[in-house]
Each structure stands twice: as structure tokens, then as C-alpha cells.
Symmetry: C2
Subunit: 414 residues, 2 copies
């Protein structure tokens, strides 16, 4: 198993002005391909420190992947530092230079010396195309069979260069035969302890694939990780375990991998040709925003009403004044009337309502901050759910949003 | 200026399963206190690698701050590795042991050997209280005047221990006389180049405080950074520069530091006792959600209507069918009618409307993806703005939300 260290370059990280997310992305892709990441590092825009870190890392690992510092400014020093560390000079990469000249001719701007600098790569290195920007990356090798691969720091440029340039090279160079693939089942409505209970024997007996449970608020992810000699073989190992997990978690898995809860809801609504409308109080539009984050959501989402004031609840949703007075705005009765009102006013088959107290003020002994009522109204009747959420305003709003989507998903999948 | 390297410990980071945000937090706090961060590193739960990284870092820097690996499990090896690196053994920290015993007596659970392990610290080290958890941190010093400070990896435990334990110790130990303070002015409605133009002479002439411009979509931040012998003195250096910047950026600064655009809008609305209502199409509830993210927003936000379908635009907002047919849903005329409709239906002084094409489908040659119309309606009349946004669905929705809030802020501040 080849080993790699990752070096992120940029002074902003050392000043705490930027969180390095590139290293985690690169590490994840390397892990998937059976490459062992020994360590990650971040240093500033300092030629000596970049070169020193590369030299040290090459003493321990088979290679270094750097990210950042390939741009045209005087602060961009990664290329120079790689040359220092490997004891080589630079050469012009002609295709990159020609491509850059074209860009400047087209835009009518003048090309400066610092732009030309971007087309230089360490002598003898392999250039890596940058399909999202102008600066090429490169892979330089040493006489000792070690390597330094340098990719940009801008994530949009870095990601394709890593997956389309660096990873294929690593696979060939190290004849990587281990492929790791994962599949994540997203569940809702089961506590982590209940999931543990249902799959404890699999936990204990399975080695490849392995399974892991990650708890979120109201949701748990169950991750299946398989290693094999090819990606296809790894995927084949996952299939029977996924099948067994789906059986045991029946009725709680709303999606896999990239599939979100709003996406799962829209798929179910579309299959059954139903439309939904939403009435929100404490979530202030977040549930509607989540539902409209899905492309094509207009096919199943008609609209929503954010009824922050009691006047709006009465006027636009038909909530009765005497019930607001008697039960309060945060009550089962008002949630039901909101759900029925939005369904009727917007002419949909389903109405979802959320009313609650997000804080930081407005709580009482009987109705504390974090109390939330959910209601779903259909022609056939209503169902409701009471929640007591913890956290600050932002946390309560976000958990109420997830809980409301979960409640809706449970209903539409029946 | 003392120098420090930061070491984050945890295998999840090297598998790409966790983004290290602790290092940026620690680096930021050190920078504020005049400590130079040479580098940050992340290694897995591996005793030799942790110890090796600490030893190397101590050769370059005055100290190392580690985060993570102080818990009770077999994977928590930071303490043992620090002892290896410094050549010392551990001792029981009696106050921590007693505190932990109390917790276990109270909860009726039995204390295990691995819990006792948490109360050990390197012999001779200073223990650091953990007010959010059970494992203490510590600061160990070497005969050569170097140090290793170890804090937990859980951010909730790490942050107070760093600011209340490690920073005061560093200030005393290195007689830190340099305090760095920053103040950030948030602007909207000025391009980065226009800001550069207005403050170029300050850029060139100022050394302490320094200023920096950070561009976002539709917004720019202007950051003022001052160094002085005390925090108060640094703040005093900032004041006149802030004053001058406010003068030059007149009418475009909506807030400082933590103040958000929705917050600024609510402050202005409340000062003038005005209420607002929002009608959204392509932003799907995001503008309402942003406005209700502010505590107490019910005092100036009445509610919103997410009019995703044309039926809802007609029925709840009073948009005319012939205008939908003639101009289309994404048009100046429909935006105006939406804004007027939501203002009238919700009985507020101001109505804001957003209608646009977020994609990925639905664009035409005349009305491409990214076309957005904003409208503000008041009793005195309407104003509108046309935007052409780029990016994917998520990006267009988020930029349209910011642009709509900016448009609203400009109006309410007049």
C-alpha cells in the first residue's frame, strides 16, 4: 500500500482565516483507492517551509500531494519550492502556454510575466490539465522512485485535477489493486441505539464490508465500506449487506449516498401524482426552501405560507381567532388548522404545518422554548406530532425543519 | 514573537471523514495574541507518529499545541505520545480524579480503568480544567524551555480550554505584549474594484492598522487589523481608520463583525416601526428563512408567501392571469404585482418579491437560467431590479437571496 502525505499551502490557514477542506477531500479519495495517508500539513506562502516540509515528508512517505500556491501572484511559491526540494529547475509547458495565450488574445487583455509563470512546470514533470482554470498542475518524480503531485488550491480546479489526473497516475504507478467503495444508507425515525440493536450481529461478524453508524439529529447514517481488487468487486461485496440492512431497517431508509430527504419526498409525491403546500411559523420558510432545493420541485410543490404573525395565520390560513386565544399559536389545534388551511387555499392534496417556539425568548413553563407541533392535513384527515427540541434558535429551527421533513416522508411513503 | 505548530490527532481526518476545523480556530486565536503559527499537521491515532511529529515540531518552533486524542478509549493516545516525545512518565492529577469519581458516584455508574486513565497527565505538567467534559488538558514543558499543550478534540471542550487555559499561560510565559484585534465592515452594492479605488491610498499608506478587502457574491468585507501592546490599544488604533472607511464607503456598510444583513434590516425596520412581508418564487422560502433567523424578527416580519406555481401567484398574491400570459412569471410586471399583493394581503408597509429561473431547466433564449426580478412595493410606489446570476441551482438561489436582502436593505435605510 503506497503512502502519501498531503501539504496544503496558504498563509490564510495559519491565520485561522480559512479552514482547509481540500486535505479531507484528497484524503478521502486516496483512501478510496487504497492509498495510506500518513499525515497532512499546512504551511504558509513561504518557499523554504514548503520545500522543507516536502523534503521531510518524502523521507517518510512514497509521495506528497500539494494543494495551493500555483497561481500567478508573488505569493504563489509552491512550484519553486517543489523544484528546490527535488533539486530541479523549471521548463515551459508549451500546451499550457499556448492555451493561456489564446485566452488572453480572446479577452483582449495583455498577458503579463506573472501569467507566463503559470505555464512553467518542474523540468521533466508530467503536466496535469486544469479544465477549470489557467494554471496547470504537475507530477514530478525523483530518482528514488518518489513523487510530488501539485494541484491548485481552488476546490473547483483541484477536484477534477485530482480525480482525472493524479488518481489515474497513482493507480498505474503503484498498480493499485485495492479499491474501497462505500455506500451510505440514510435513515430517519430510529434512534442510534435501536439501529445498534437491530444490526449488532452484523457489526460483530462482518469484516469486509464493514459497517458503521453515524448519528445526526433525527437521522442516522449507516455506512457500508468494502475493499476489493476492483471497484466493481467492491460494489458487489456491498450489495448483499445493503440488502440485509434494508430488510432490518425496513421503513426507515429514505435514501442512499447523495439522496436527500427533500429529494426522497419529491420522488414519492411524483410517483403518486400528489402536490404539497406548507404552512410554517417557527421554521420561517426553511421547510419550503428545503423542498425547493430539489430540481424540478415545482412538479410536486405548489407553494407555502410563512405565517409568522397571528393575523397571517387567521387571514391566509383560516385559523380561528378563538382557537388562537384558547390554545395558543403553538398548539396541536392551531397546527391542524394551519395544515388544513394551506392545503385548501393552495388546492393541494397534502398540507404540512409547523408551529413552535424557536427562542431565545417567548417560552413559558407550559410551553417552553423548543416546543414544536407538526401537522399533516389530507382529505382523509389529519395527523399531528409534538416535539420538544433543544439548542439555540438556529439549532431549533434546523431540527424542526428536519423533523418536519421526516414526518412528511413517513406519511407520503405509506 | 514565539512560534507554535499545531497538531490535530485523529484517523478520521486522514480518511477524509472529518474536516479539521480546530486548527483554524486555534491558529486564529494565536494570531490575535501575537503568536506565529509555523505549520499545522494532522496525524492518525498512532502513538509513534504523534510523538514523532511533536519531536520534529519542537526542533523548529517554541511549542506545540495538540488537539484530540485525550479521551478514554484505546485509540486515545496523545498523552502517551507526548510523554514519549518528552521522555517523561505520567502521574495522577488528583483534582481531576476526584472530580471524575464524583461524576460517577452521582450517576450511579461504575468507574472503569479507562476512565481513570483520563485523570493522568505527564509528570510535572500543569493540568488544564475541562469545564465541558471529564478529560483534563495539560501543558508540559521541557528543559530547553519548549512546551507541549494538549487540549481535547471536541470543539465545545477545546475552545474554552484554549482561551481560558492555554492563552493566558502563553501570555505570561512569553510576556506577550502584542495584541492583534480586527474589525470587519460588511458592505453591499460596491464592486471590489470600486472599493479598491476609494481606499487605494489607505491601502498604500497604512501599516498598523492594516486593511484588507475580501470579496463575496454581492458583498465585500473590509477588514481592519491592528497590533498593539494591549487589546484596548489595538481597538483604539482601529477606531479612526474605521471612521474614515465608513466615510468613504458611505451608504454601503450594513454592519460590522457578527452583524448580518437580515439583522441590519430588522434594526432599521424596528427603528421606523415598519413591517415587511415577502413573496418568493425561485428562492423558495430562503429570504423568509433568512429574515426569521434573527431573534425577535416577529416584531418586523409579518410573514411570507412562497408562490411556486402560477395558481398560487394569482390566488394568494392577486397576480393577473393576462400579465402572467403576456409577460411570463419571471418579469418586472409580475414581480411588482407579487410585491404589491403580499403587502396588501399581509397588511404590511413593505412588500418584497423575488421571481426568477434557478434552473437547471426552464431557461430560454430571452429568459435564461439566472434571470431574476426583484420588486419592492410600498404605499408610495414600487421599485424593481433585474439580475442576471450565474452558477448552479443552489448558487443562483443563494445569490438571489443575498441580492434580495441587499435590495431591501438599501430601501429601508433611505
Amino acid at each position: 500500500m503506497p503512502s502519501v502525505e498531503i501539504l496544503a499551502v496558504g498563509t490564510e490557514m495559519l491565520l485561522g482565516q480559512l479552514v482547509d477542506t481540500n486535505s479531507a477531500f484528497i484524503a478521502g479519495k486516496l483512501a478510496e483507492n487504497g492509498v495510506d495517508v500518513f499525515a497532512t500539513h499546512a504551511v504558509g506562502d513561504n518557499r523554504q517551509r514548503i520545500a522543507g516540509t516536502i523534503r521531510m515528508a518524502l523521507e517518510r512517505a512514497d509521495g506528497v500531494i500539494t494543494t495551493g500556491g500555483l497561481g500567478p501572484t508573488v505569493d504563489d511559491l509552491t512550484k519553486e519550492a517543489v523544484c528546490d526540494a527535488l533539486g530541479v529547475d523549471t521548463e515551459v509547458h508549451e500546451p499550457s502556454m499556448r492555451a493561456m495565450e489564446e485566452v488572453f488574445v480572446k479577452s483582449g487583455r495583455q498577458m503579463r510575466e506573472n501569467n507566463r509563470k503559470q505555464a512553467l512546470i518542474p523540468r521533466g514533470a508530467i503536466a496535469l490539465d486544469n479544465r477549470e482554470g489557467t494554471a496547470p498542475g504537475f507530477i514530478a518524480t525523483t530518482g528514488q522512485g518518489k513523487f510530488v503531485a501539485s494541484v491548485p488550491g481552488v476546490p473547483r480546479e483541484m477536484k477534477p485535477m485530482l480525480t482525472e489526473g493524479v488518481l489515474p497516475w497513482l493507480q498505474q504507478r503503484f498498480r493499485l489493486t485495492e479499491h474501497i467503495r462505500t455506500r451510505t444508507l440514510h435513515t430517519i425515525g430510529l434512534a442510534e441505539s435501536e439501529i445498534d440493536h437491530r444490526i449488532a450481529d452484523l457489526f460483530a461478524s462482518l469484516e469486509n464490508p464493514k459497517i458503521a453508524v453515524l448519528a445526526h439529529q433525527f437521522r442516522c447514517d449507516v455506512k457500508i465500506m468494502a475493499k476489493a481488487a476492483s471497484a466493481d468487486a467492491a460494489i458487489a461485496l456491498i450489495a448483499p449487506v445493503e440488502h440485509e440492512l434494508l430488510r432490518r431497517l425496513d421503513g426507515h431508509v429514505y435514501g442512499v449516498d447523495e439522496e436527500t430527504l427533500p429529494f426522497a419526498i419529491h420522488v414519492l409525491l411524483r410517483q403518486t401524482h400528489r402536490m404539497i403546500a406548507v404552512a410554517e411559523s417557527c421554521t420561517g420558510g426553511s421547510v419550503a426552501a428545503a423542498l425547493t432545493s430539489v430540481p424540478g420541485s415545482s412538479k410536486s410543490f405548489a407553494g407555502g405560507i410563512v405565517s409568522y404573525s397571528n393575523e397571517v395565520k387567521m387571514q391566509l390560513l383560516g385559523v380561528q381567532r378563538q382557537d388562537l386565544d384558547r390554545f395558543g399559536a403553538v398548539s396541536e389545534e392551531v397546527a391542524k388548522q394551519m395544515a388544513a388551511g394551506v392545503r385548501e387555499h393552495l388546492g393541494t392534496g397534502i398540507g404540512l404545518a409547523i408551529t413552535g417556539i424557536a427562542g431565545p425568548s417567548g417560552g413559558t413553563h407550559e410551553k417552553p422554548i423548543g416546543l414544536v407541533w407538526l401537522a399533516i392535513s389530507e382529505a382523509s384527515g389529519a395527523r399531528t406530532r409534538r416535539l420538544h427540541l433543544t439548542g439555540d434558535r438556529e439549532g431549533i429551527q434546523s431540527r424542526a425543519t428536519t423533523a418536519a421533513l421526516g414526518f412528511l416522508w413517513e406519511r407520503v411513503r405509506e
